[in-house]
């Protein structure tokens, strides 16, 4: 199945748009606006955004379950509209709320899905089904009807059926939503195990999960792509690097010394009990790393309790990005 093309781009959308009820003024809903998304091979791509941002619609557009009203998309080099079935032969998909035939067992469900890809031999299909059950830890429940499954078990079955054909691209829509912490951890573990075999494109609004497993991130809001970058680049994000210092003693002299340096753009200070906390924003990180701490320690009356560069959380970046977009 993995006769991959030389093209390193797995998903590439160009001005992809979706409007529901176009032309009906009162009912028109713009779900996706001119989306330009690039997903590279072998990445774990976190597609994040609040509910209603257009994540699921984008995924359904890529799968051909929803028809675009503008633009185009190629998945694995195939056009998402004209070659939709060819695409679906090479990908796996976990819906946001996976629905299966309730009367079927997990094994029957996987067998049914496998037969869309393979005709035989029967024993090999059964082996593949068993392998998937083991991968998601459902062996002990394999022969029970799905109607008795918990949300987490359905989700794991969803991942198993999505992976049954060893897809080149795995699309997961909110794979950990609605799960308890243990269920979430289980799903993330499975994703980590799969990363060496396939490209994973997954949507979520749980930002901690993204920070744990993703290497690339796109932020959606109100149908628009606000940012798209490798996670590390996004977390470094800010134009100017910020250093955090926690100090005790009289900081006034040291502060004036630092503020006079050319490479310092701003020093923000807060005091809590006998400790002073500085956020020093710099224009040149190399110089700052060489000189900042030395300049502070020149003042013998000062003690440095903590020193380090500020680590941004994805949540900060996300809120910042969305807020900037809202403020125009």
């Amino acid at each position: 199945m993995r006769n991959s093309s030389s093209d390193s781009m797995v998903i590439n959308t160009r001005e992809l748009s979706k409007t529901y009820n176009p032309g009906k003024a009162s009912q028109e809903v713009i779900a996706i606006r001119s989306l330009n998304l690039q997903v590279h091979r072998n990445s774990i791509f976190g597609f994040i955004g609040p509910n209603g941002a257009g994540k699921t619609t984008t995924i359904k557009l890529l799968l051909g379950l929803v028809h675009p009203t503008g633009g185009s998309a190629t998945i694995l080099g195939c056009d998402s509209v004209r070659e939709s079935i060819d695409i679906r032969k090479r990908i796996g998909y976990l819906p946001q709320d996976p629905r299966f035939y309730e009367y079927m067992t997990a094994r029957e469900t996987l067998r049914f899905k496998a037969r869309f890809f393979y005709v035989g031999p029967k024993a090999e299909i059964e082996n593949r089904v068993q392998e998937m059950l083991e991968m998601v830890g459902l062996v002990d429940k394999a022969d029970r009807p799905i109607k008795g499954f918990s949300g987490g078990e359905r989700q794991r079955l969803g991942i198993a059926q999505a992976q049954i054909n060893y897809p080149e691209l795995l699309i997961l829509d909110e794979p950990a939503a609605g799960l308890d912490p243990l269920g979430r951890r289980g799903v993330l573990e499975v994703m980590k195990r799969l990363r060496q075999h396939t490209t994973i494109f997954y949507s979520t609004h749980i930002l901690d999960d993204v920070q744990q497993v993703s290497d690339t991130v796109a932020i959606m809001h109100h149908g628009e792509l606000l940012a798209q970058a490798p996670l590390n680049q996004l977390l470094a994000g800010k134009k100017h690097k910020v250093y955090l210092l926690t100090l005790t003693g009289d900081t006034s002299a040291a502060r004036s010394r630092i503020e006079n340096e050319k490479w310092v753009s701003v020093v923000r200070s807060t005091t809590d009990a006998d400790q002073t906390r500085w956020e020093v924003e710099v224009t040149n990180a190399d110089v700052a790393e060489d000189q900042l701490l030395r300049l502070v320690l020149d003042d013998k009356g000062l003690r440095v309790i903590e020193f380090g560069s500020k680590k941004y959380k994805l949540e900060d970046i996300f809120i910042d990005t969305v807020a900037k977009n809202q403020n125009g």
Binding site: L63, Y93, P95, R99, F116, Y118, G120, E124, R128
Partner: protein, 267 residues
């Protein structure tokens, strides 16, 4: 998770993608569950039970005069009764074939795999057609044939009876395609049932009005198929072929319409 080279890939292309698997699923729903024998049992009790009562029970209590028209006269009634029961079964059993799958969300899951929408509709049609025709027409036809043959003491000519059953089958397929087509247009069973029953009940009314003024219209109605079956089992020339042609055309038309609509649906 090494690539398993021993697995053979499905070789289906274009509209056929996913057809075999969806048809297999539909057949399993009929033949690997209790559906087939429940449906067969109900039909057998209602249809052959009534026939058995007339052939075997009534003569035990009151003497029956020998009547050369007994077989064909009884068969007339039984075939009309069969057409009513088989159409009711078709509408009730297949009302959820598309709508149920849309409502449960399963159709979105299936179509996210390598399945063409045409294949899905055609497999639903063929799978249900095999199940319904087997249990409501041909199995019952076989029991009817055996009962008459046992009662008469010889095997009746089989070809005329088969011809009558084929006309019954076409009548069933007309309603099956109608229900599947309506399932692609609506997301609720209410309009589907309302339109199906309106067509079922409305045709005799049109027939009544048109019989005198426009007999060509009367004979073109699919509802005339059970009446044509009466001519067929007597091995008489059919008075018209219009209803056969129209029912065939409408069945195909409904399927084309169903595929057209289903392809435009979003899940």
């Amino acid at each position: 998770m090494a690539e398993n080279v021993q697995l053979q890939l499905v070789d289906e292309h274009g509209w056929r993608c996913g057809f075999a698997n969806v048809l297999r699923l539909e057949n399993q729903r009929w033949w690997a569950t209790k559906r087939w024998w429940v449906q067969s049992l109900i039909m057998t009790i209602l249809l052959n039970g009534m026939l058995a009562y007339g052939i075997w029970i009534v003569p035990l209590f009151e003497p029956v005069e020998p009547n050369p028209e007994f077989v064909s006269g009884t068969l007339d009634v039984i075939l009309i009764w069969m057409s009513i029961l088989s159409v009711f079964s078709t509408i009730f059993i297949t009302q959820s074939a598309i709508i149920g799958e849309k409502q449960s969300g399963v159709v979105a899951w299936i179509l996210s795999g390598p399945v063409s929408r045409s294949a899905f509709i055609i497999a639903e049609f063929i799978g249900n057609a095999i199940g319904l025709l087997s249990t409501t027409v041909f199995l019952q036809g076989m029991f009817i044939y055996l009962q008459f043959s046992m009662s008469e003491g010889y095997f009746l000519p089989i070809v005329p009876i088969l011809a009558a059953l084929l006309l019954q089958s076409l009548y069933l397929l007309f309603y099956l395609s109608l229900v599947i087509m309506l399932g692609t247009f609506f997301s609720s069973r209410v309009p589907l049932l309302a339109i199906s029953f309106a067509i079922l009940i409305g045709q005799p009314f049109i027939d009544n009005f048109a019989e005198e003024s426009a007999p060509w219209l009367s004979w073109a109605l699919p509802a005339k198929l059970p009446e044509l079956a009466r001519f067929a089992h007597r091995w008489q020339t059919l008075p018209s072929h219009s209803s056969i042609i129209l029912a065939l055309a409408l069945t195909l038309g409904f399927l084309v319409l169903a595929i057209w609509r289903f392809k435009r649906d979003e899940f």
